[in-house]
Symmetry: C2
Subunit: 527 residues, 2 copies
């Protein structure tokens, strides 16, 4: 099973699962019962809340008499049910075969007692639907697979230089212009190749509400992100008055755009209007506002200098802090808090902001010591667009080498924190950036099986056994086969996964770590 439960006690015998429900479920667990009974023949299953368990913890008991799942909350019961699914033969993960068609007969469930609970509260995965749009059905499937691995946060990266993916009332050009680009780069940007093919798509409010509801059924919180003040070229192409006026089209190349928001009052009002709309759709208390990779030039140009003078700021870092504070104030009016990349630590992040620490461990340490909640996501450990091997058939190899073993070895809590500070590390997330992932199959390939390793690094204990994980990964890949996941085989890339026309640009780990240290030098000085 992946992630490995905390305690598994095998017993003799088992329970033959067969026949339709009804599941016995106490009030409050109707959602879990409905979800589960659509997936497996659920007669003989009882679902219960148990006050003594951790909120996401559960106890699963399989005896000859039946199957009982007790959870500290509906989420705990849901995780117990996910574990139950992994106790069944892999073919049972094809619900339409067990439900109808040529039935395989009763499903044998081994008798067992499992006691389990996660280490971290935030077990997340970022999906970038800006660089490549993913239709709703694909997002739902992505959520379902993440929840199967007991992750509970989807960080949905909705906007970027290369595309704006959310319809906003009153701002029609965000989607009529900003949601598509004329072409896409093929491979890493150093090669300057393009595919000559338009790309686009966006979500209506109804689409996003469906994603939120589907995720909620699976106890996944969707944290939306509107990246600002950088990564805004798509919006600026739609409404040039939001920038310097120089950006007239949605960006077709990867990398960081120089075209960023200006800091006029009207532009801040635009940001507030977008966040207001986002708040009507996403119940998440945390709302992502990005804050990463905002180059100087336009940002601290005439408008920025006027703001610096008017507000008595010292320069770009203070400008960032001032801007972030305005958004935090606005979100606070709606009972929401800021979720931002660790760049917002420069100049001081707003109280209550949660930091996605992606540039090594330094920002995580700084943020925790400054009293911020931290989600660890260092690029060299959990950026799943990075290359999985040095096999020449690896599609578009970018970033540093990041094998399954590397992800498995990831420790979300950096060294050097006090016990009190360590509590600020609320979890971690793996980030699936999609510059080079133009299809669900490519997303599958980069995500799995590394997200399996990541799931165990956030659910399981600090001390883990790679050999034990590898032994469990074999049967788990049969589950992924049944779920139709185009994972990367341990033996290497399948020939059809190669992308010779989209060459990569591999990086060296030491070189990248030095770069990250240099990028975060301002944080160390500021701390």
């Amino acid at each position: 099973m992946i992630p490995r439960p905390a305690s598994v006690t095998r017993r003799a015998g088992g329970f033959p699962l067969s026949g339709a429900g009804p599941i016995t479920a106490e009030p409050g667990l109707e959602g879990v019962a409905a979800w589960l009974s659509g997936l497996i023949p659920a007669g003989g299953i009882g679902l219960w809340l148990a006050a003594g368990l951790p909120p996401e913890g559960y106890v699963l008991d399989v005896t000859a008499r039946g199957i009982e799942i007790r959870g500290g909350s509906p989420a705990g019961v849901f995780y117990g049910a996910q574990t139950l699914r992994q106790l069944l033969p892999a073919a049972a993960l094809r619900p339409h075969r067990t439900g109808g068609g040529p039935s395989p007969g009763p499903l044998p469930v081994p008798a067992v007692r499992i006691e389990d609970a996660p280490r971290f509260a935030w077990r997340g995965v970022l999906l970038d639907v800006a660089r490549h749009f993913m239709p709703v059905a694909g997002v739902l499937r992505f959520i379902d697979l993440a929840a199967f691995h007991k992750l509970n946060v989807l960080h949905l990266h909705l906007t970027d230089d290369q595309g704006w993916r959310v319809e906003v009332p009153g701002w029609p050009r965000l989607t009529s212009v900003g949601a598509r680009r004329a072409a896409s780069m093929l491979g890493a940007r150093v090669h300057d190749r393009y595919d000559g093919r338009p790309h686009g798509g966006f979500y209506t409010a109804d689409d996003l509400l469906e994603i939120v509801a589907y995720a909620a059924e699976r106890h996944v919180t969707v944290v939306p992100e509107i990246d600002m003040p950088g990564h805004m070229q798509a919006a600026i192409a739609a409404y040039p008055e939001l920038g310097s006026g120089a950006a007239r089209e949605v960006r077709t190349s990867w990398g960081i755009s120089p075209h960023v928001l200006n800091v006029r009052d009207a532009t801040l009002d635009f940001c507030r209007a977008v966040l207001d709309h986002v708040c009507t759709i996403f119940p998440s208390e945390l709302i992502g506002i990005g804050g990463d990779e905002c180059p100087s030039g336009e940002w601290d140009g005439p408008d920025g200098r006027a703001r610096v003078a008017a507000e008595g700021l010292a320069g770009p870092a203070d400008l960032q802090a001032w801007f972030t504070a305005r958004m935090a104030e606005h979100l606070a009016l709606r009972g929401r808090r800021v979720f931002g990349w660790d760049e917002i630590l420069a100049g001081g992040a707003p109280a209550g902001a949660t930091i996605a620490a992606w540039r090594g461990t330094g920002p995580a340490v700084l943020a925790a010591r400054s009293g911020h909640d931290v989600v660890s996501c260092p690029d060299t450990s959990v950026y799943l667009d990075y290359r999985q091997s040095d096999d020449p058939g690896e599609p578009t190899p970018v970033g540093t080498l990041l094998t399954v073993a590397d992800v498995y070895a990831f420790e979300p809590v950096p060294a050097g924190l006090t016990a009190e500070e360590e509590k600020r590390i609320i979890g971690a997330q793996a980030n699936v950036w999609t510059e080079h992932l133009e299809s669900e199959r490519r997303v599958d390939y980069q995500t799995y099986p590394r997200l399996c390793a990541f799931a165990e690094a956030t659910w399981g204990p600090r001390r883990r056994d790679l050999a034990d994980f590898r032994a469990r990964l074999g049967p788990h890949l049969e589950r992924l086969d049944a779920l139709g996941v185009n994972y990367r085989p341990p033996s290497g890339p399948r020939p059809a996964d190669a992308r010779p026309g989209a060459p990569g640009h591999p990086r060296d780990l030491a070189d990248r770590l030095a770069e990250v240290r240099a990028m975060t030098a301002n944080l160390r000085h500021g701390a």
Copy 2:
């Protein structure tokens, strides 16, 4: 509603659908009840069998007291339930919103009595997963959408020159070699452009069993097709001894390959082995063996000439008939019948074979007069890869112009048949060839809304009203939005759907019809 029911009687008032089931369902309808209760709040719904109705017919009664669906068979009840879904607000087609999340409250169902039954027994759609592989999840979604439009056959085109998509025990190279190609053409073959990107994928037996079971839940029969003796280059690349030895790779260009099966005994045994495996997976009585577009040269080369001499045949047409008869004999041992393209009429098709008549109406007439069941699918009426308009933004425009109105005007029964012969026209199918459809979004774009028009042409009466259809299509597109379908908007292609790098090759209708007449001249002489 689409397809338009035969009779709709509106009444005053309605029924507010709310609350979970249970659905009242008589024995035999558990499957429909389980399917429906996963989609809508189904309390107050009763499902019944009614002996007096046609097998696929139904009566749907909505009153203030509840909703009753009576069907001539479970399929009829299923279609009644599909009609019920179309009576609900479009948002109800997002089951996760109505099931969980921010609930929209009770769903208003207008009081109505609907009596309905289809005109044709075969309401099919072909999906070509050979030219572009579609992952299982995509195929399931394709089936679900077809069933929503009350289609009941999926003709699954599993093999072709450009890829072999079904794992066959004992023949591992069919998938290790035959399931992928080194590159794909970009656009029509006259341009000779390639994308330089490998493409591949295949289905395991478990994958196909899941597809079959999912389809069965939706009362869709999956008719598999292994195209032979032409369209076999992928298999021959895997096992050169099946051909002339000249084809060493899976075809990367579109069009008809010269590399076809030889007619040695071992090659016929290969075909039988593949069909045996297919029969273990697909319960369909009809099994597709292709028979189309087999060029001379290799087919009637040394092996063929030896067969011609040994069997006393006159030439290629008789060779085709002899080969098809061997496959028919073999399928008959398993209680199956041949489903083949109209080329197998040349030289005489086996008794009991069903003919997919694609080259104009001539072959349909010939087949019906010869006592064969016929599925009408003339390319200039129902080949959905053909271009939808002459808009310059239309992606990869190929074939003849085939608008929604053209498809709507399609009449499956050709003129000139007697009443008895007309009964041989068991229905029709729309064919989604995927040379130019590399993604589900592209498949959506070519398929919808033309498949809506096709559904009405096979479900509804011979005399139909285009203006009435267009009026109903508007609200129906909102349903397709809720279902996440990337249909072609009536106003023209969305900019992001354009494919300037994959140019098409439009054809003129008169020119194509003349070509079709020439292609089928041998049939007229043979008749």
